[in-house]
């Protein structure tokens, strides 16, 4: 315990600093790296830029969803409604667009606005009615999904026009000699950076972390607690809409799109070191967590493990990662 000075790091040499940085780096990056190596060993063509980009564009929706979920998780809440938002985005977009390319833009904007409304409802129910977010978003899960299916009568209607689907399916051709640079990856990078800025470089993010850490202290420090909390839900729902647009683009209309993604996004965020009940979390690490899960699925698939066992292994890995995090946190105290 010393008086604070400007140079806080006790490590001096460059190599020492790098070693220190590597040692304190979030373990999820190493997990992702090991899994990546595993996949490449099993399937060497995977690492070819074209193939890897295909993989990345497939992973973009869950990664974005996880990044959005982090906002709610660090604020101390949960958002179980994201899967439903994805489903409804796909179904309702198809009804509204109905294969008319002229409608794409306003449909996407409308969907984003719809996502904002869902987030607003989640946030306001949590903030003003004081309903625990787990329950509030369980309610909106049912409501949002119900609205989507009610509107469509239970089966997808209409088509998504090609210029809507291009976001999840196409890319810029001829870039850097690649076959195609997927728009999904571009969106992933752009939105990922935006969310990173928001959580880690803007005052807003620090207020969000403070809120998740200690809501009362945050309120007494002048943080507009309700506004910050609600906005976290809004951000989460809107990224879910983006994920929905990408998934709809990639796979076309289906009511199965989005099922189970809520738990997957929470698990991925936790794998990325996000602390449930708030106060700690990082967008890039959470995205790496989502990527690690996708890599894990690919690897298990390549290993030829039957599908059911993949669930079991996924469960083991999630528990193991979190237990390890808890264990090392205890050790570091």
């Amino acid at each position: 315990m010393t008086q604070l000075t400007a140079t806080t790091s006790t490590v001096e040499s460059l190599a020492g600093r790098i070693w220190h940085r590597l040692r304190t780096l979030n373990p999820v990056y190493y997990i992702a790296l090991v899994l990546l190596i595993g996949v490449v060993v099993q399937n060497p063509v995977f690492i070819q830029p074209d193939n890897f980009l295909v993989f990345l564009s497939r992973s973009a929706p869950p990664m974005l969803l996880t990044a959005g979920q982090v906002f709610v998780l660090v604020s101390g809440g949960f958002d179980l409604s994201v899967g439903s938002v994805v489903t409804s985005t796909v179904i309702i977009s198809a009804i509204l667009a109905n294969n008319d390319p002229g409608t794409t833009w306003w449909v996407i904007l409308l969907m984003l606005a719809g996502g904002a409304v869902v987030g607003l409802v989640n946030g306001m129910v949590t903030a003003y009615l004081k309903v625990p977010s787990l329950i509030a978003t369980l309610g909106t899960l049912l409501i949002v999904r119900g609205i989507g299916l009610f509107w469509s009568g239970g089966a997808p209607r209409g088509y998504l026009p090609d210029n809507f689907r291009m976001w999840g399916r196409r890319g810029i051709t001829g870039l850097f000699g690649l076959r195609e640079f997927p728009y999904a990856v571009i969106l992933l990078i752009v939105i990922g950076v935006l969310l990173w800025l928001l959580l880690h470089r803007l005052n807003y993010g620090r207020q969000l972390l403070a809120l998740g850490d200690n809501p009362r202290a945050a309120r007494l420090s002048g943080v507009n607690v309700n506004l910050v909390r609600i906005s976290a839900f809004v951000i989460c729902s809107m990224t879910a809409v983006v994920a929905g647009v990408l998934l709809g683009g990639r796979g076309g209309v289906s009511i199965e799109t989005g099922t189970g993604m809520e738990m997957q996004s929470i698990a991925a965020a936790v794998l990325g070191g996000t602390m449930l009940l708030g106060g700690r979390g990082s967008v890039p690490a959470a995205m790496a967590g989502a990527l690690a899960l996708e890599l894990l699925f690919s690897l298990l698939n390549l290993l030829g493990l039957p599908k059911p066992l993949r669930d079991a292994v996924q469960g083991l890995i999630i528990i193991g990662a979190v237990a390890y995090a808890a264990y090392s946190a205890k050790r570091n105290r």
């Binding site: 399937n43 063509v45 995977f46 193939n51 295909v54 497939r58 929706p61 198809a94 009568g153 239970g154 089966a155 997808p156 209607r157 209409g158 088509y159 399916r169 076959r179 998934l247 990639r250 796979g251 076309g252 209309v253 289906s254 009511i255 199965e256 799109t257 099922t259 690919s298 698939n301 390549l302 030829g304 493990l305 039957p306 599908k307 059911p308 066992l309 079991a312 292994v313 083991l316 237990a323 264990y327």
Partner: protein
């Protein structure tokens, strides 16, 4: 960290047990499969005169044989289904393929391939009628089209005063409660059931039979108590569906072509029998079935599976599917990978049919026709009027081929509209089915 170690041990042990249970010993299975299959053929052949009796004897051996076969077929031992395969049923389905409707002049939804008349005078009743319908769910597009068609059929019958629809939302437990509620309410003159799962709903249907006439359609139940069971091919539609698609692939692909089988999920009887119908044919063929994968009926997952398979095996030449809802997603995976379209079987959905016509695919669309939802209502009316009905009512099961494709392509209909609905001439078509006037 003692508990840590204990826990790890327990989990590891659980995992190993599971690995063993999954059939880690795949290699010898292939040989066993062949032998077992031969034994089965013998057993089946000997018992050909008395199918009923032979079935029981054969089942035990068959289950062993088929499970090994599926292992040989599946990549590394795909999940094993035993309950739903019956050699006798499979052969019955093949026999039905050669039958022609006995009343070819009637509309397709009231045609029958066999005569199995039962008397219903005991149920005769004067109108108006209250018809109750316990539905497994309207949780997929096929069921939505079917249910819409059913409602339209109900509207054609002025003698139906009330039509009570109860939706089980895909939950066995709930459907049992629903049926109990309907029976207890005491208002139903007849009960139509579309069971969520065959085995689970059997007790509830048995119970309902004691109080009122029951019509079962779509999926079956394991009891004879209902007045009539309505299904294409009289309950063997699944085998035929799978066989139709597999046969098309076998006929249209060169030897050693790579085929991938895309399934929705394991354990649902109508889907299991489809795979059973295809599996035997693939086993006998010289096609190379590289993978059997479950895509949950999810476009995104199917696309991922196909993309990975293309990457892993270099080329995929044929795609067999147990349901066509994700066929277009599978085709798009080929487009996105820059590969030529495979030989494929889809189903009678508009998006697939449109794609087929536009791209000139080599394809076939076996169907599980939604017109059977009309037939169920018609059978119910016949029962209440005391007219004789067929049990089982073996409807025809038409497939859409290159030859009759143009007849079924209706671009004004929603993408997941099932063309084989027999509803084109009904009032409010196409708006009621979500289409726009052409």
């Amino acid at each position: 960290m003692k508990p840590f170690r204990i826990l790890f041990f327990v989990l590891a042990a659980m995992l190993m047990v599971a690995l063993v249970a999954c059939g880690g010993g795949a290699p010898p299975a292939a040989q066993q499969a062949e032998q077992a299959a031969q034994q089965v053929e013998q057993a089946a052949g000997e018992a050909a005169q008395d199918v009923e009796k032979a079935a029981d004897e054969a089942v035990a051996e068959v289950s062993e044989a088929t499970s090994s076969t599926s292992e040989a077929l599946g990549s590394e031992g795909a999940a094993v289904a035993t309950e739903f395969y019956s050699q006798a049923d499979y052969e019955a389905a093949l026999r039905m393929r050669d039958l022609k409707p006995l009343n070819p002049d009637d509309p397709v939804w009231v045609q029958y391939l066999e005569e199995n008349w039962v008397d219903t005078t005991q149920y005769k009743k004067d109108p108006p009628y209250t018809v109750c319908f316990s539905n497994a769910g309207v949780n997929n597009p096929w069921r939505v089209v079917g249910y819409t068609t059913m409602q339209a059929e109900v509207d054609l019958h002025p003698e139906i005063e009330k039509f009570i629809h109860v939706d089980a939302e895909g939950n066995d437990e709930k459907q049992i409660s629903d049926i109990q509620d309907l029976v207890a309410g005491g208002n139903c003159d007849i009960l139509i059931v579309s069971p969520n799962t065959t085995k689970a709903l059997t007790p509830a249907v048995e119970e309902a039979c004691k109080s009122l006439p029951v019509i079962v359609f779509d999926r079956g139940v394991q009891t004879d108590c209902p007045v009539a069971f309505v299904q294409p091919f009289g309950g063997f539609a699944g085998y035929n569906f799978g066989y139709e698609g597999a046969k098309f692939l076998v006929d249209n692909l060169p030897a050693k072509a790579n085929v991938i089988a895309l399934r929705i999920l394991p354990g649902v009887d109508v889907l299991e029998t489809r795979w059973a119908g295809a599996r035997n044919l693939f086993a006998e063929s010289d096609l190379n079935v590289v993978a059997v994968e479950f895509g949950d009926g999810n476009n995104d997952k199917v696309k991922t599976i196909v993309t990975d398979a293309i990457q892993k095996y270099g080329h995929i030449d044929g795609v067999w599917m147990d349901a066509g809802a994700t066929a277009v997603a599978a085709l798009e995976a080929f487009e996105d990978a820059g590969q030529p379209y495979p030989v494929i079987n889809g189903e009678d959905q508009q998006d697939f049919l449109v794609k087929w016509q536009q791209e000139g695919l080599t394809a076939i669309a076996p169907t599980f026709p939604t017109f059977q939802w009309r037939t169920a209502v018609i059978a119910a009316m016949m029962t209440l009027k005391g007219e004789r009905v067929n049990d089982p009512w073996a409807l025809p099961q038409p497939a859409i081929t290159q030859a009759n494709l143009d007849q079924y392509v209706q671009p004004n209909m929603p993408p997941l509209f099932y063309a084989m609905c027999g509803c084109e001439t009904m009032p409010d078509f196409p708006q009621r089915w979500g289409g726009t006037a052409p």
